[in-house]
């Protein structure tokens, strides 16, 4: 077997050195009758050729985003990842290294984490950022727990236009932790009303309010007023961003007063991957740093006084603090941080702004093309690269029809709110830099043909 270096002679020699007769003697602790006889009921060894055939056949049953016009978003976005990013993250020294517990031989990982933290802090407009969470949704749930620790209150208010999957993740963890969540109803038509409802729900028990901008329907929100309201009531504002590219064009949550910002970083460097691995960005005001979950990389010096980096403040973490840790998180999204950091380095300030501008312009162009199309209404007053349309018909069926025509048109709201009968005619449509004029024309044509 190509992955196993020992030869049968080696095995014999080694058993002799150990002083046992057979390898099963080393498994003597396994209770009687529990040591498997024979093999598990699975196929035996396959060479690369055969594995590639099997995986290739599975791949061929899917329609990749690159196969045609593609407008699916709602929390994960099809962006172009430069070839150098994927090349660099596959370097053995990055790919096959562990958590940098031995900093003397992990300065590569540590320095990029430090760069990552800096980039995330700058982007979100916050003072500090950690070395990543699993993804945006688990980061959001951790942020709610963190707000509970900071405020010593345990009621979180979730805006109605928060991505419903994020809401579910927060609710699941909060419920299990015996905390309270108040989730407001979604409002695709009047996004401003959603924020007003959040403001109205804040009370003296409130630990935090969780608001997404751009929201799940693509609407943009000014968080300044709600930040003030929440903070005046002793609660924290947790801002959620699922499309990190938007931060190239929009005022940062930090500048609007957020206490904690959690974001999905998938758009930069990571790719779609059918939902994972992604990378959760987590930033906060520095006064809360010791309540933050996850790893932090910090600057220090070595025995010769040279600058170096280490994981730090680990007394927050489970491997030191055990049941008193701020979170149980251990593994993070190291390699995806690297992908994010490299892509962001390639973009730079100028490139990110340009990328955001292209995304926005493409989305505006699609909205303009839809203007006046019979049976289609764009609901958003404002948006970045994603907006919601109301269509004359069952959105899910229309999206399926369009898929048959080769256009992956967006996410029917009914997929995210499956039980809400009122919203069966909405499609959330994302448009990024990979879409061309032809793609948008194809969208309009396929939509018209499918209503």
């Amino acid at each position: 077997m190509r992955y196993l270096p020992l030869t049968s002679d080696d095995r014999t020699d080694m058993l002799a050195k150990i002083g046992v007769a057979s390898v099963d003697d080393l498994f003597a602790n396994v209770p009687k009758g529990k040591l498997m006889k024979g093999l598990a009921d699975l196929p035996t060894t396959k060479g690369e050729i055969e594995v590639e055939r099997i995986m290739g056949a599975l791949a061929a049953k899917n329609v990749p985003a690159s196969a045609g016009p593609f407008f699916v978003g709602a929390g994960a976005y099809k962006h172009h990842v430069p070839a150098s990013v994927d090349h660099l993250i596959q370097r053995s020294e990055f790919l096959t290294s562990y958590t940098p517990y031995q900093p003397e031989i992990a300065q590569g990982t540590l320095q990029y984490l430090f760069e990552f933290q800096t980039q995330v802090a700058l982007l979100t407009g916050m003072e500090v950022a950690n070395a990543s969470m699993y993804d945006g949704s688990t980061g959001a749930a951790e942020a709610v727990l963190m707000a509970h620790r900071v405020t010593r209150r345990n009621k979180a208010i979730l805006a109605g236009n928060l991505h419903p999957h994020y809401r579910d993740v927060i609710e699941t963890l909060s419920r299990m932790a015996s905390d309270t969540t108040v989730a407001l109803p979604a409002n695709a038509v009047d996004a401003g009303a959603d924020l007003k409802a959040v403001a109205a729900a804040i009370d003296a028990e409130t630990s935090c309010v969780v608001i997404q901008t751009p929201d799940v329907f693509g609407n943009l929100h000014d968080l300044k007023a709600i930040a003030e309201k929440a903070q005046a009531a002793g609660a924290l504002l947790i801002a959620v961003v699922t499309e990190v590219v938007s931060l190239g064009s929009l005022t940062s949550p930090g500048a609007m007063g957020a206490d904690i910002v959690v974001a999905e970083g998938q758009s930069i460097g990571v790719g779609l991957n059918f939902g994972g691995p992604y990378v959760g960005l987590f930033a906060a005001k520095s006064k809360y740093v010791r309540q933050m979950p996850g790893r932090l990389c910090g600057e220090t010096v070595d025995a010769e006084g040279r600058r170096g980096f280490v994981l730090t403040l680990s007394t927050r973490e489970q491997h030191i603090r055990r049941e008193k840790a701020t979170s149980n998180i251990c593994t993070n999204s190291g390699l995806m941080c690297l992908a994010f950091t490299i892509h962001m380095t390639l973009l730079g300030e100028a490139g990110l702004k340009r990328l955001a501008a292209v995304n926005h312009a493409n989305a505006c162009d699609l909205a303009d093309r839809l203007d006046g199309v019979k049976g289609v209404e764009v609901l958003n007053k404002s948006f970045f690269n994603e907006f919601t349309i109301r269509v004359a018909g069952d959105a899910a069926k229309i999206v399926e029809k369009m898929a048959k025509k080769g256009v992956l048109a967006g996410v029917p709201a009914s997929r995210l709110w499956p039980t809400d009968k009122a919203e069966k005619d909405l499609i959330i449509v994302a448009n990024t830099e990979v879409n061309t004029d032809e793609d948008r024309a194809a969208f309009v044509a396929a939509l018209q043909a499918s209503i």
Partner: protein, 493 residues
Amino acid sequence: IEEPLLFEIGRAETTGVDLPAPKKVKSRLGKLARDGAIGLVGLSEPETLRHYVRLSQKNFGIDTGLFSLGSCTMKHNPRLNEKMARLPGLGDIHPLQPQSTVQGALELIDTLAHYLKELTGMAAVAMSPKAGAHGELCGMMAIKAALEASGQGHRKIVLVPESAHGTNPATAALIGFEVKPVPAQADGTVHVADVKAALTSDVAAIMLTNPNTCGIFEKEIVEIAAAIHKAGAYFYCDGANFNAIVGKARPGDLGVDAMHINLHKTFSTPHGGGGPGAGPVVLSERLAAFVPYPFVHADKAYVLVEEATKIVKGEKPFGRMTAFHGQMGMFVRALAYMLSHGSDGMKQASEDAVLNANYIRASLADLMSLPFGDQPCMHEALFDDTWLKDTGVTTLDFAKAMIDEGYHPMTMYFPLVVHGAMLIEPTESESKASLDLFIATLRDLAMSATKGEVDRFKGAPYHAPRRRLDETRAARNPVLRWTPPAPYAEAAE
């Protein structure tokens, strides 16, 4: 060669990405358009390549040398898996595409689930957890949901041996359980008598690692499971060390109710400098109903169940662990690995992992001290620092000296129950020649330590990109991001 920080060499106007000019349109950003600088810097593409290539050269990985970090299972990461994960049909698909356009992806998840259930002998698997600790959380949530569903919500105690990974107590505490320790005995294992003594009607579960963190298979595990079940509680098994027993013993046969599987430990998905992981949780019949959304039903077509209206009778999902369906990229890699090995290869891999660890144990036992006597270990060999007594050399010093010899040190000071622990896991990926060289090096170091050559250890590492780093300073006055030096800030004004 030193490499500056990105922010010390980058420039605000430089970009390594060429994009066309945006179309002229009416902005829909309103008042929220960003105003002023973000503070980011960019590098051209050649500079970016060089910067990160040079950073990589300051890292150690399994491709560069033996990585003896116990409990972390730093095994070979096949490049075939990386290639498969990048097939457009697997890597470039969106979690919310119409299900009709991702049938292969759902089939892949279902297939991997079948493999995991078959290898563990368990009834169900929750695929979505994003990493090991997330899997623990999922498993404990399932237990909590099951207890509540059967009116046993008052059970708040979780038994955890002191040798457990920190994630175990942290996970239990995160969702409101109270952690109560169980002792291990002189042979390094937990005895059923001690478990029985701790079992009260408040006990929700035990969290036991098996093989345990001392590298030993829990020999009374079947009895412990029976006792736990008899007391109305659940048996959570930490699967971090599953690598030792794949194809050799099935947790389901041992009485386990829930166990997470680190795809990045057992099934070769790369650790990537700290992630991403993937932590599917296998569940017994007793817990199978509680698998969280989303999960796959294999029917005429594959269906991703994301909502209550699609569940079948008896399914009681306890909620949702993450936005989408888990670490698909890692699933692809793990399945490619399992297909490559096959049932025969996976069994052989476990045997070789155990053989390699015992070979190290047997080859060092005369120089270094074994805390639990001369018994076989599983896939990792645990030494303590008794043998270093009065040498002036600590476990930490010894580990750092290994760096100078071209090795990644073992896990140090874990498990906590052993003084100055040194936990060595070679994995099945090492050849005998590699082990022999490693053993010879460690023997040389050990003799050097016992002879009192303290300088070789106290100052180590001498030959790494950095000498020992001041962790206290980092924690006392945390500097967690780059900030422009004062003169630069002035100049920028």
